[in-house]
Each structure stands twice: as structure tokens, then as C-alpha cells.
């Protein structure tokens, strides 16, 4: 059973060329994403060298339990995304769209948990410029830590939101038989994007949550 034939846009000669172009385009886009986050990580590193103790102290104020749960949730969601691609390649449809919906749901769960973290931090007075009540030795350095924390996690959360929307669209399209074993490039590329969002978090997690807790 084949899906509806997929029209090749007129600038391409054949589906192979289209697939190559789309895939390379996504990888190129991911390269720019690495540089977007790279600036933030570079800024983090340099500020941490200036204020090592304040960064450790700031890190101890984050919610380790939620952070770890979020990591687990994101990793699981990435696994679901990968499985759904595999399923489509093997010709499956129902399970694939269910897995995509699960990926989106896990993404939403991640965002909700992060929301709880932000609320708790607001109450604790850890939100620079809005509600920052820290006093004492490391207050200034921690303020910089929290600036970077909100910037990095906020920018990452925007990526998760975009990913959730894309995943839902993909789930719907898969359900409506838009993709099959021969043609599923958009699905594959969306999964690729989701993995990048996941990988970025793998770097954020130790930098934000673990760094102050060693030793």
C-alpha cells in the first residue's frame, strides 16, 4: 500500500535530489544552532572562571530533582522520536503517530516542569531584575549565573516549544498517511531537530544543575 505520490517541487530534478537538499539544509541549520548556543556556553565559561564560587553557589540553588527528571523526560522523548522514524521506515503508521504524539507530550511535560522551577525560583528571589533578593558574599556573581541560567534555559525552552508543535504536525501527517517507507524526509528531519534540542540539554544539565554539587 503506497501513500499518495509526493510532488517534487519544480526546482528539483527528482526526489533523490530533493531529499539530499532537505537533509543538508537541516544539518546546516543545526550547525548554526550550535553557534547560537555556543555563544551562551562561551559566556557561561568565561563568567564561571571569574566567579567560580558564586556559580557553584548558584547551582546549589537550582532544583536538582526536577532537573534530573527533565533530563530523563527529554531523553525518553528522543528515543520515542527515533523509534517512530524507524516505524515509518518499516511501513508502520499507527504506532509511529502514537510515538510522535508521545514525544510531543513528553516535551510538554518538560516545559511544565521547567515552569514549576521558574515559579519556585521567583518565590525564592532568584530572578535578576524582577525579583532578586539574594544577599551575602556571592550575590553579585549569582546574579550573573541566574542571568545566564534564564537566558540559556529560556532559549532552549523556545526550541522545545517549536519542537512540540512540529511533532504534533508530524503526528497528524503520519496518521493521515502522508509518509511511508519511501518518502518521510520531513519526519526524519524533525526528529533530527528534536535530537539537537536534546543534545543541547545534555550540556545544559551538568552546567546548571551539577556544577555546584560535586565534592
Amino acid at each position: 500500500m503506497n501513500a499518495r505520490p509526493h510532488p517534487v517541487p519544480e526546482q528539483f530534478d527528482d526526489p533523490v535530489q530533493q531529499r539530499e537538499a532537505a537533509t543538508l539544509g537541516m544539518w546546516a541549520f543545526l550547525a548554526t544552532e550550535i553557534l547560537f548556543f555556543g555563544v551562551l556556553f562561551a559566556g557561561y565559561t568565561l563568567c564561571r572562571v571569574r566567579f567560580p564560587d558564586a556559580f557553584a553557589e548558584g547551582s546549589r540553588h537550582t532544583d536538582m530533582l526536577l532537573g534530573t527528571l527533565e533530563t530523563a523526560v527529554l531523553l525518553t522523548s528522543s528515543c520515542a522520536a527515533a523509534l517512530s522514524v524507524r516505524e515509518v521506515q518499516l511501513g508502520g503508521r499507527r504506532l509511529a503517530s502514537a510515538l510522535l504524539a508521545a514525544t510531543a507530550a513528553l516535551g510538554v511535560a518538560f516545559l511544565v516542569m521547567h515552569g514549576f522551577e521558574y515559579v519556585a525560583e521567583y518565590r525564592e528571589g532568584l530572578m535578576p531584575a524582577i525579583h532578586y533578593t539574594q544577599q551575602g558574599v556571592h550575590a553579585r556573581g549569582m546574579e550573573i549565573f541566574y542571568c545566564l541560567y534564564y537566558f540559556i534555559t529560556g532559549f532552549h525552552s523556545i526550541h522545545v516549544m517549536v519542537g512540540v508543535v512540529l511533532m504534533l504536525v508530524m503526528a497528524g501527517r503520519t496518521w493521515r498517511r502522508a509518509y511511508d517507507a519511501d518518502y518521510h524526509t520531513p519526519l526524519e528531519l524533525t526528529a533530527l531537530y528534536w535530537h539537537l534540542v536534546d543534545i543541547v540539554w545534555i550540556f545544559v544539565y551538568p552546567l546548571v544543575y551539577l556544577v555546584g554539587r560535586a565534592g
Binding site: Q17, A21, C147
Partner: protein
């Protein structure tokens, strides 16, 4: 230039619809190129007007034409507009968009909708910048140095930061589009080593746009947040580091210089080979020089900061890398010169522009050596010597090449021929006007006149007057093409498919080309520039 009887041609891309809507919703790379061309021309003359105001203010040592604040806003506006809304998109977004698919034998770029979206981003960014101007302007200089831009400036920094942030995405997406297009859309037989140098230049510049611009975008976002919320990582009052901003900024803005000059090098390689009717001398070396410049260009940003407070050793490393990047530039100048050897040279307007480019680029490049030498840079940096140096590269280099390219491909783009006599006159006037404007600035800088000065010591006046006189001539020379090119649109003779008798796939299709460029994919059997009777 010879005209050819018009053969019944297929419908050209210009005849595919005449309404505004057909233009604003087009996916055709050629129409998008023209949309960019209109925006870029508008911003070029707006930025040029600001430059004229600056030069007229500097005719006398006293600040009499405008107030210090207005002057600061004028040079900031000049810098922002010329860098982000003219120079960076100039060749890639107009000539690049128009020619890249034609030169590699493709029907369009890989992602035509993204291409149109890039243009809209450019327009939105431009509107923010214009809004900023209307609401009173911004006085930070185009470099937005912290903490002045974040904590001290009372002007509309946010609006212009948003404008530049948005236009940055336009450049990222254009870069991405070009990379994918060159990789996947080449016609059969168009191997990498058969690509015209213009395509190589576009490829290298796309790489730089894609990988450097995100750094600028994030840095501007950090500036924006710091201004909005009063906290951030660049503010020294908080323990942040203003020099970190300079590192981030130049990590983008030095490669950005290569975004401006690499395309110019590509254009000139096409123009010189055609003017001399010779194969380019040392094709492979030219390719590797382009790649080398693009890659090493990422590693030299610290040469903007020799006196900014970075360590002595960091400066030494950045200095040696800056000397190394001068080698491929030298190779290119020698190869262009050698291409003339045993040529059959005619001096049409594009060739005049190209020869002018080589001379001015060489003067700009050689003075770069003075600035790469740390001990000399201490004295010369932040003076008019630097101003002259980068204008030789960006105006003498990039703008000359841009205009040369516009003249060379004008018959292809519009299907019309312009007045050759006027075009030659404009090119020559521009060359002399340019040198009169900027050569005195080298001397001013060496004598110690700092840049961004609204008033100056009376001893500097002679050179300033010469420079301002030159600027007036240069301004007039820039206005000329506007008239005779516009005139040619209605009254110019019709151009045949190949009025320059040039090689290259873009000359095998009718002028102006049909919507999808090629009826069937061309087969490429030899390298570029096969000029030989």
C-alpha cells in the same frame, strides 16, 4: 558590446506577471534578487547621504553644521546602514541570488520560499532601523561597545539592535540556501573544480554568513536584555566584562568583512577574465585562496583589540594570523594581474571597474599590514588611518566590484544595453573621487586624528577639506549610474543572450532569462573561462 537581432524568445521572468502581488509573492530567485536590489539601492543612498553630512561637517574644524549629538547619530546611522543593509547583502543577495542558480545550471535555489522569507526579514529589519532613525536615532557607533550601549546611551539602542538582529537571520538563511544549492543543484558535469570563481566566492561567503551571524544575533540579544532589565554579563558594575562583548562582536564582525570582500573577489574574477579574454591565471590557487580567507578569517578577530586590554600574548597570536591571511589576498592580486598577460584586453565599463578594484583593494590590503603589526597598530588604531583602510576595502573594493558586476550582468538581468560612454565616465570619476576622499584620511590618521570626532584640531583641516571635496565628487559619480541605468530600461538597445561574448552558463540562456532558466539541464564539459579563439 554588440547588439543582436531579437529572436523570438520564450517568455522572460520579467513577463511572468506585472502586478505588485506577482513580485511580493514570487519564489523566483531572479525576482527576489531584484527585490533585494531595490532595497539595497535605497539604503545605499540613505547611508551615502549620512556620509555626505559627515564629510560636510568636517570641512571646518569647529562643529558648526550640526551638534555633537547629531553628528554621533549620523555616523552611527551611516555605519549600521552601510554594513548591514548595504554591504553584507549587496553582492550575495542581488548578483548572488540572480546568478548562482544560472551559473551552476539549476532552475532555482534549493529553497525558494526561504529565499523570499529572507527578503522579508531584510525589509522588517530595515523598517526597524528606519523607525529608529525617525524616533531620534542612536549614538553608539555601529560597534555598540558596552557599557556605553547598555548603560549610558540615552538613544534608541533597542530598535536598532532589533533591526540588526532580524536582518542577521536574513543573512543566515541566504547563506544556508546557497550552501545547499551549490552542494546539491549543480548540473551534470559541473564538478567542483569547474565552478566559476564567483560561485566559489558565494559558497565561501555563505559558509561565513551561516557560521558567524548566529554569534552576532546572540550577542545583540544579550545587549538587548542588559538594556531592558539592567542586568547582564557585559556590565562591569555587576562584575561582567565589557571586553567579552568586544570578543563576541568581532568574532562576527571580522568575518563580516570577508562577507563583504569575498563576493567582490568573485565578481572581479569574472570581469577580468572576460575583459582580457583569458582563462583565469592559477584557478586552483584562486579557489584555495578563497577557502583560506574564509577559514582563517574566523581566527583573526582579536586584531581589533590590540589596545583594548587583551593580553600581550593574545595580541601576538592574532597579529601573526592576520599576516598569514594577507598571503591569500596577495596571491589573488598577483593572479588577476597575471591573467592580463597575453590577453586581448578591451576596456568596457565592467573591466574598468575591475581594474579599479584591483588597485584599490591592493592599497587597502597593504595598509592592513600596518594595522596587523601590533607596534604600529597602537598608534594607528581608532584613527582615520583605520577609517581609510576599511573604506578602501569596503568601498574601493566591495562597492567597485558590486557596480562592476551590475554593469556586466545588467544586459542579462534587464535585457537592455546601457550607454557605454556614460558608464566608463562614471567608473573613472568614481576611481578618482574615491582616492581623493580616502587617501587624505591615511595621512590624517598617521598625523594622529582620532576617528568619530565631531571637532578637530585646525592643523588637520587641509586634508579634511580635500577629503570632503573628494566625497562630493564620489557622491556625484555614484548618482550617475542611477540615471543612465534607469534610462536604459526604456530606451536601451535590446541585448542578445551573450553581449560580452562571455563563457559561463548564464550567457547560454536568453536575456532576460525565462522563469525556470534552462529548458533542459545543461551538460558541462569543461572548466570555466574557456576564452580562446
Amino acid at each position: 558590446m554588440n547588439t543582436v537581432e531579437r529572436v523570438p524568445a520564450p517568455r522572460s521572468y520579467l513577463e511572468e506577471g506585472y502586478g505588485l502581488r506577482s513580485w511580493l509573492t514570487t519564489h523566483d530567485h531572479k525576482r527576489i534578487a531584484i527585490l533585494y536590489g531595490i532595497g539595497i539601492t535605497f539604503f545605499f543612498f540613505l547611508g551615502g547621504l549620512a556620509a555626505a553630512l559627515i564629510r560636510w561637517e568636517l570641512v571646518t574644524p569647529a562643529g558648526d553644521l550640526m551638534s555633537a549629538e547629531t553628528y554621533n547619530k549620523t555616523f552611527t546611522f551611516h555605519g549600521v546602514v552601510m554594513v548591514w543593509f548595504f554591504l553584507i547583502p549587496s553582492i550575495p543577495a542581488t548578483l548572488g541570488n540572480f546568478l548562482l542558480p544560472l551559473m551552476i545550471g539549476a532552475r532555482d535555489v534549493a529553497f525558494p520560499r526561504l529565499n523570499l522569507f529572507s527578503w522579508y526579514l531584510y525589509v522588517v529589519g530595515g523598517l526597524f532601523t528606519l523607525l529608529c532613525l525617525l524616533l531620534g536615532g542612536v549614538d553608539t557607533g555601529w560597534t555598540f561597545y558596552t557599557p556605553f550601549s547598555t548603560m549610558f546611551s540615552n538613544s534608541n539602542v533597542m530598535l536598532v539592535v532589533v533591526g540588526v538582529f532580524v536582518v542577521g537571520f536574513s543573512s543566515i538563511f541566504t547563506g544556508l540556501n546557497f550552501i545547499v544549492t551549490v552542494h546539491t543543484m549543480r548540473a551534470p558535469g559541473m564538478t567542483w573544480m569547474r565552478l566559476p570563481l564567483f560561485v566559489w566566492a558565494m559558497y565561501a561567503v555563505a559558509l561565513v554568513m551561516m557560521l558567524a551571524t548566529p554569534v552576532l544575533a546572540m550577542t545583540l540579544a544579550l545587549i538587548g536584555l542588559e538594556r531592558l532589565f539592567g542586568v547582564g554579563i557585559f556590565d562591569p558594575a555587576l562584575g561582567g566584562d565589557p571586553v567579552l562583548f568586544q570578543h563576541f562582536f568581532w568574532f562576527y564582525s571580522h568575518p563580516a568583512v570577508y562577507i563583504m570582500i569575498l563576493p567582490a573577489m568573485g565578481v572581479v574574477s569574472e570581469l577580468i577574465t572576460n575583459g582580457a579574454r583569458r582563462r583565469i591565471f592559477g584557478y586552483k590557487f584562486m579557489v584555495w585562496a578563497i577557502i583560506g580567507i574564509a577559514v582563517v578569517g574566523f581566527l583573526v578577530w582579536g586584531h581589533h583589540m590590540f589596545v583594548a586590554g587583551q593580553s600581550m600574548y593574545a595580541s601576538i597570536v592574532f597579529s601573526i594570523l592576520s599576516f598569514i591571511i594577507a598571503v591569500p589576498s596577495a596571491i589573488k592580486v598577483f593572479n588577476w594581474t597575471a591573467t592580463l598577460y597575453r590577453g586581448d584586453i578591451s576596456f568596457d565599463a565592467p573591466m574598468l571597474y575591475a581594474l579599479g578594484f584591483v588597485g584599490l583593494f591592493m592599497l587597502g590590503g597593504l595598509t592592513g599590514l600596518f594595522l596587523a603589526a601590533t607596534a604600529l597598530d597602537v598608534n594607528l588604531t581608532d584613527t582615520y588611518f583605520v577609517v581609510a583602510h576599511f573604506h578602501y576595502i569596503m568601498v574601493g573594493g566591495a562597492v567597485m566590484a558590486y557596480l562592476g558586476g551590475i554593469h556586466y550582468w545588467w544586459p542579462k538581468i534587464t535585457g537592455r544595453l546601457y550607454s557605454e560612454a556614460w558608464a566608463r565616465f562614471a567608473a573613472i570619476l568614481m576611481f578618482f573621487g574615491f582616492n581623493l576622499t580616502f587617501f587624505p584620511q591615511y595621512i590624517l590618521g598617521y598625523e594622529g586624528m582620532p576617528r568619530r570626532y565631531h571637532e578637530y584640531l585646525p592643523q588637520f583641516q587641509v586634508w579634511n577639506v580635500l577629503s570632503s571635496a573628494g566625497a562630493t565628487i564620489l557622491g556625484a559619480a555614484y548618482l550617475l549610474p542611477l540615471f543612465y541605468l534607469a534610462w536604459s530600461l526604456r530606451h536601451g538597445a535590446r541585448a542578445g543572450p551573450n553581449p560580452w561574448d562571455a563563457t559561463g552558463l548564464e550567457w547560454t540562456v536568453p536575456s532576460p532569462p525565462p522563469l525556470h532558466n534552462f529548458d533542459e539541464a545543461p551538460e558541462v564539459t569543461e572548466g570555466p573561462y574557456a576564452y580562446r579563439r
